[in-house]
Every structure is written in C-alpha cells, then in structure tokens.
Symmetry: C2
Subunit: 233 residues, 2 copies
C-alpha cells in the first residue's frame, strides 16, 4: 500500500569512515578500498553500500563494517547525512556517514586483504571519490572535538597505555604537538585514569607506568555534573 504516493524516492547509502590507530607508528589511519565497479572504478573510496529495504541505517553501517573487518562490537557513531543532488555521478544518492574507531591491530588482516581494503595514513590522504574527502574532513573535526570533551580517545588504544602513548594519540588526531606538562596535569587531574603497578619498558630503560581508563569512575563523576575537558595547547 502506498500511503505517500506523491513523493520521490531516493537511493540511500551509508559510508564508513574507519579510523585506525597504531601505537607503534603513532599515526591516525583510514581504512579504504579500491572501487571495483562503475562509476569511478579503481578509485579509492570509503567503505560503503546501499541501505536495504529491511535494515536500519545503523544496521547497514554495521553490516558493512563487519563484512570488511570481521569486527562486531566497535565504537561507531553517525556523523552526517550528505544530500547534494549531484554528489554521486551515477545517480542521486543520499549518503549517511558513520565514523568508527578501532585499534589497527584488532582488524582481521586476511579478511581485509580479501576484501581489498587497506590502511592509509591520514596525513597526505589521496583524492577519494565523490565527496568522501569532505566526509573524512568533517569526521576528523568531530573526532577532534569529541576527544576534547569526551573520553572516546581510549577506544583507539589498548586497554593499558602509558601517558606518552595517550599524548601521542592526541597529537596524531590534533595533528600538532601538545604541551607535555599541561597535558599530564589536565588528564590526571580529572581522576578518571587508574595507575597500574606495571611498567612499559620497551621504549625506555627507566620505564613508564601503564594507566587504564576507569569508565565507572567517569560515569559517576559525570552524573555529579563533571565534564571531561582536555583543552590543551
């Protein structure tokens, strides 16, 4: 039964901006694939696909992410709906972008290779198809705001990390240096990191203590009007 018969229907796609981070080379990366169909065959693209009749937008984004990476439970957030009429030369397609945060090591490498996706460093990103560079730019800007006002940066790190590794992550996302003393002071003063007994000793003789993000403490503080705030220069 057609209840809304006078309106136009549209193709709707989802595109996933899959951010990855590797604590060893300290670089923010993006999972991209070479398009194997027209238009723009052979060009680099975000991981995307059309939304089916019987699935929600979130389900479509999860389906695509899982298919390409093998990962099931990943931090993923809707970013923005792109609706310019001429954004896709193939036809009018409205696309809803999502961004996901995953530690690079968590990905199933064989599956990724088989699906033709691979990591590209965000610095010096090549031209992607359509408006995908805009999608990346907006998602990066959102990520920069998010890690300043919410504890989402930890999604990109292993469970235990040193303060240097945490600062490296912030610098990779902000794409600039951050004052070390100020950063440590601010992050520690929030009281949401738990210092472990264990030290990381691979990068220095003296070693650096590992820390863990304490989600429970954060949620309790938040309920009492606390704001995560990491304004660092």
């Amino acid at each position: 039964m057609e209840i809304y018969p006078k309106s136009s229907k549209h193709y709707v796609a989802v595109d996933c901006i899959i951010f990855g981070y590797d604590i060893l080379d300290k670089e923010l990366k993006l999972l991209l694939y070479k398009r194997t169909f027209d238009p723009a065959r052979g060009s680099l693209s975000l991981a995307g696909g059309f939304v089916n009749a019987k699935e929600s937008l979130d389900e479509a984004a999860c389906r695509i992410l899982t298919k390409l990476t093998g990962l099931e439970s990943v931090y993923m957030k809707q970013s923005y709906a792109y609706g310019d009429t001429d954004r896709d030369p193939g036809d009018r397609v409205i696309s809803v972008s999502y961004f996901a945060l995953i530690p690079v090591r968590d990905i199933n490498k064989d599956l990724a290779r088989q699906n033709g996706v691979s990591w590209y460093a965000l610095s010096g990103l090549p031209k992607l198809i359509f408006d995908h560079n805009d999608m990346v730019r907006r998602a990066l800007s959102e990520l920069q705001t998010q890690i300043r006002i919410k504890p989402v940066g930890f999604e990109l790190l292993p469970e235990k990390f040193t303060l240097v590794q945490l600062q490296d992550l912030y610098e990779a996302i902000y794409r600039r240096k951050v004052d070390r003393r100020n950063f440590r002071k601010k992050i520690l003063s929030m009281g949401i990191l738990e210092k472990l007994e264990e030290k990381e000793k691979e990068t220095s003789k003296k070693g650096a203590y590992y820390y863990k993000f304490n989600q429970d403490t954060y949620l309790k503080l938040k309920q009492n009007g606390f704001y995560f705030n990491l304004d660092v220069n």
Copy 2:
C-alpha cells in the same frame, strides 16, 4: 539511465526542530504543528516534509522552515538521520532532522497561524508523532553541548542582552540553575563580550549593562587555539 538498478529506493524526509526563546518568559520553546493528513492526523508533529528529487537535504530543510516562519537566514544545523524501518507507520521513511535557533519575536505570527504552527514550552512537552520526541531529546542534548563549547547561545538572544538575560538562557537550556558568580566570571574571562554604555532599566531601578557578543574577537581568539568553554555548575 539507472546505474544502480539492484538497490532499494526510500522516501527521505527532513524534520525541523525549531527552538525558540523569549527573553521575557525565559522559556525554551518548540514550534510544532498539528498534522492535517494520515497517518496520525491531528497529532502534534515537528515541521517536516519529503525531500524532492531536485533539492538537497539542506534545501529541503530551509524550504520548510521558510514556508512556516517566513524567516530566511536562520541558524540551522543538521542533527541526525533517523532510519529505523518501522519509525513511520505510513511507509518506510528515512528522516534527517535539523535544529534551528530563533528568537521567538523574529517569527511572522500571521504566517505561523495560517500554517497551523505554534510555540510549545519544552518543559511538559506532549507526546509527538513517531520518533519526534527522540529527535527533540537528541537535539536538546546537542544544544546543551553546543552552548557549552561554542558561542551559539547568542543566536537565541537579541543583539544586546544583559548578563542576567544570558544566564537565564543557559538555565532554560540546561533546565537547571547555574551559579551566578561562576557564570559571570567564566563568560567575562573569555573576553568575547563587549560591554555597552547603555543599561537595561525595565527589570531593576539600578539597571544592568547591556553586552554584545563580538564575533570578530571570538574568531581571532579561536585561530590562536582558544576554546569557548562554559563549564558551569
């Protein structure tokens, strides 16, 4: 020519969460209309409509806002794309929500009446159709974050306002009291308000100085790494 022939097409709508604020009764309001067609005829709804074949999402949202309010240049921001398959009982409709901020007095009252829209206080909001209450909840939560980290609250105020009026606005959006001394100290210390010579004398004998938001100063500060930050308890 159909380039993507195997994919489903969907109805796509936009829904506008039009927030209004009146400095006199100090309440955040929402512009709603009574639906005049099935399904859910007679129920309260956000201002919305289907996206046409030849318009972008932004264009559709602006068209609807202008048609209902007579306003052309208004602060409007995309909020979220809602894509659950069963969200609209009429058919599968994907809806992209936008939120707009307008001072209540700016609206064309006759046009609003003619279009069947009117203001409803956000406190004690009735049940709206479909998932529109969720849309409002998310947009309010975004607005609460936005006014904390960006100078968007000024969009809801007249060009000149007193510090009390500014605090009233924050309290209406946060839906709680805010500490007066802390609020003044924080907002003034950012150096983005310009104190005028003129006083507002209607609410007190002594009068209170008017202030103006200085956009140029804000943009200059922002370029130098300054963050708008109004964490107030």
